[in-house]
């Protein structure tokens, strides 16, 4: 890792130079007009090997891709994993939840809603395909699977308030 060198170009803009580990240099010039130019200098050369000119907007897009903050808008908006007709939903169990402190078999989830519990996340432990005798505890996170109707039915039947907005990693 090396530091970024900054330099004024009076009348043109500002120049930022980054020396890469490979010995090549990457130079970004931000013009007063907002235009960006990205130059690549090969190791030891003082003439650029390639130049790319970007508008202000393009530069921001590229910047967000490089810094890893760029997401597809569909994923970002819905924050659900969409498979054809199947939805998975993350649900946090609160203290006063009707699901809390009950065995899965007591709840008759499959029969009443059509959805089923695939996973229980309890603190650091993850229980995939929990047995029918497993007890759901407060502060657990459960993952249920079903089509949209079944999920909605699950949510209304058990009066779920706290759905998890994309906490899954």
């Amino acid at each position: 890792m090396s530091e970024i060198k900054e330099c004024d170009l009076p009348g043109i803009g500002k120049k930022f130079t980054l020396e890469l580990d490979s010995g090549d240099k990457l130079v970004v010039v931000i013009h007063f007009s907002g235009e960006r130019e990205v130059f690549k200098f090969m190791k030891g050369s003082d003439e650029p090997g390639s130049v790319t000119t970007l508008s202000d907007e393009e530069a921001r897009q590229i910047g967000s891709i490089l810094s890893g903050t760029y997401f597809q808008p569909v994923l970002e908006d819905e924050q659900k994993l969409m498979m054809k007709n199947v939805t998975m939903e993350w649900i946090k169990i609160t203290d006063d939840s009707t699901l809390a402190n009950k065995k899965i078999e007591e709840l008759n989830i499959r029969k009443m809603t059509g959805a089923s519990i695939t996973t229980i996340i309890r603190g650091e432990t993850v229980i995939p395909n929990p047995r029918a005798g497993e007890i759901i505890k407060p502060h657990d996170t459960i993952i249920i699977i079903g089509n949209n109707d079944q999920i909605n039915k699950f949510i209304s039947t058990f009066e779920i308030k706290q759905r998890i907005e994309n906490d899954r990693q």
């Binding site: 004024d8 009076p10 009348g11 043109i12 120049k15 130019e37 200098f41 003082d46």
Partner: protein
């Protein structure tokens, strides 16, 4: 009738500028040179009218104003050491040369000083544009080129105030120099103090939403500053420049630039045309050899000076040569200087015509040299390398 004719001739000039400019941008030539050529051609069809002359005067004022407005005091302060040293080297290599040539041509001291300024100052407009067009803004030598340009422009702005003041005083003696320097520094000091102390006040005054009134207010500030400078015997241009510097520190800077730019572009173009029209064909034949001579000598000193600066700042030979080869074009400031002083006609080489030839040569050839510098550098470095090997070989033999 006179008014009608001069309006028509102005219109024709503008149309000619447009067509010539269009062709020039096709072949990547500088507009400055083309506008002067248009002026030289147009003088065969109609004379310089009062209207053209008036607009040309405004052209200088607006050009210097915009220059002051876009001048980055911040980067001047940040890089003052680098700017100062590269600027001084460039000055030492190129300014005395003009004095010497002026003396050889039989000019008096004021005229020689003027010629020195004309030969010394590289066109920042042409060079900066070429750097951007040729995608060289990231090159290692570019920041040094720009530092030299910023120093030259500051130097010439001050020099302009001085030389016009001296010329108005009439002769160079201790008393004259003293008076002119006093006036110039008082004028500079007034604006600097105003900029430092009354920032809020100035900001408040020019914070006007009404577009039309805003333009009128800014124009009045520019013209009053220019007029005041002229009134105390300095150049109008320097007044406008300082007004630009003053307003460059305000929040409205961008808006001012947008508002004044069309005026500036229009009047500056006319200024170049008027200059071209004032070049006398009678003299031009005799000026061409002298112009070529000065061009060759001064190009060598510029390139060598640039190469020297590159060496001082540990640039590679290639980058150093590119630095030097980028400093050849002369343009706007040389022309402003040439028109700044009215000279008596007994001078052997009329400075306006000489400057015309010189600026045309250096602007056109200088732009081409910048673009084609690669093969020259290659040739130069290869030649140096073979020379180096030849001298080195026997030495190695001795060591072995």
């Amino acid at each position: 009738m006179i008014v009608n004719e001069s309006v028509l001739s102005l219109g024709i000039s503008l149309l000619a500028l447009f067509i010539a400019g269009l062709l020039a941008t096709r072949i990547n030539q500088s507009l400055t040179a083309v506008f002067i050529v248009v002026g030289m051609i147009l003088q065969n069809f109609f004379p310089v009218t009062i209207i053209t002359e008036f607009i040309a005067t405004l052209g200088i004022i607006f050009m210097l104003f915009m220059f002051g407005l876009e001048f980055s005091v911040g980067s001047l302060v940040n890089n003052q050491r680098k700017i100062f040293f590269s600027g001084i080297y460039d000055l030492i290599f190129n300014f005395p040369l003009g004095l010497l040539i002026g003396w050889l041509l039989g000019y008096d001291l004021i005229q020689s000083l003027l010629l020195a300024g004309i030969i010394y100052v590289t066109s920042s407009v042409i060079v900066a544009k070429s750097i951007i067009d040729l995608k060289r803004s990231a090159n290692p030598e570019t920041e040094y080129i720009l530092n030299v340009l910023i120093f030259e422009d500051m130097f010439i702005a001050t020099f302009l105030a001085f030389i016009v003041g001296i010329s108005n005083y009439g002769q160079i003696d201790a008393k004259g120099i003293f008076i002119v320097i006093l006036k110039t520094s008082a004028f500079f000091a007034f604006f600097i103090v105003l900029a430092k102390t009354s920032k809020k006040f100035v900001n408040k005054i020019i914070d006007i939403e009404h577009t039309e009134l805003f333009v009128i207010l800014i124009l009045s500030i520019i013209v009053i500053s220019a007029g005041a400078a002229s009134y105390v015997g300095l150049s109008e241009a320097i007044g406008a420049f300082l007004a630009g510097l003053l307003l460059s520190e305000t929040k409205q800077r961008h808006r001012i630039s947008e508002a004044i730019k069309p005026f500036q572009q229009f009047s500056t173009a006319i200024f170049f045309v008027a200059f071209g029209m004032s070049i006398d064909y009678k003299h031009i034949g005799g000026m061409i050899p002298v112009g070529i001579f000065i061009f060759i000598i001064s190009s060598f000193s510029k390139v060598y000076g640039g190469y020297f600066i590159g060496g001082k700042y540990a640039l590679s030979k290639r980058a150093g040569l590119r630095l030097g080869l980028s400093l050849i074009p002369r343009g706007e400031f040389s022309i402003i200087l040439a028109g700044a002083i009215s000279m008596n006609s007994s001078v052997p080489y009329p400075i306006k015509s000489l400057t015309g030839v010189y600026v045309l040569l250096s602007a056109i050839i200088g732009s081409i040299v910048m673009k084609e510098s690669d093969w020259f550098i290659k040739w130069f470095i290869e030649r140096k390398d073979t020379e180096f090997k030849q001298t080195k070989k026997p030495l190695q033999g001795q060591l072995l």
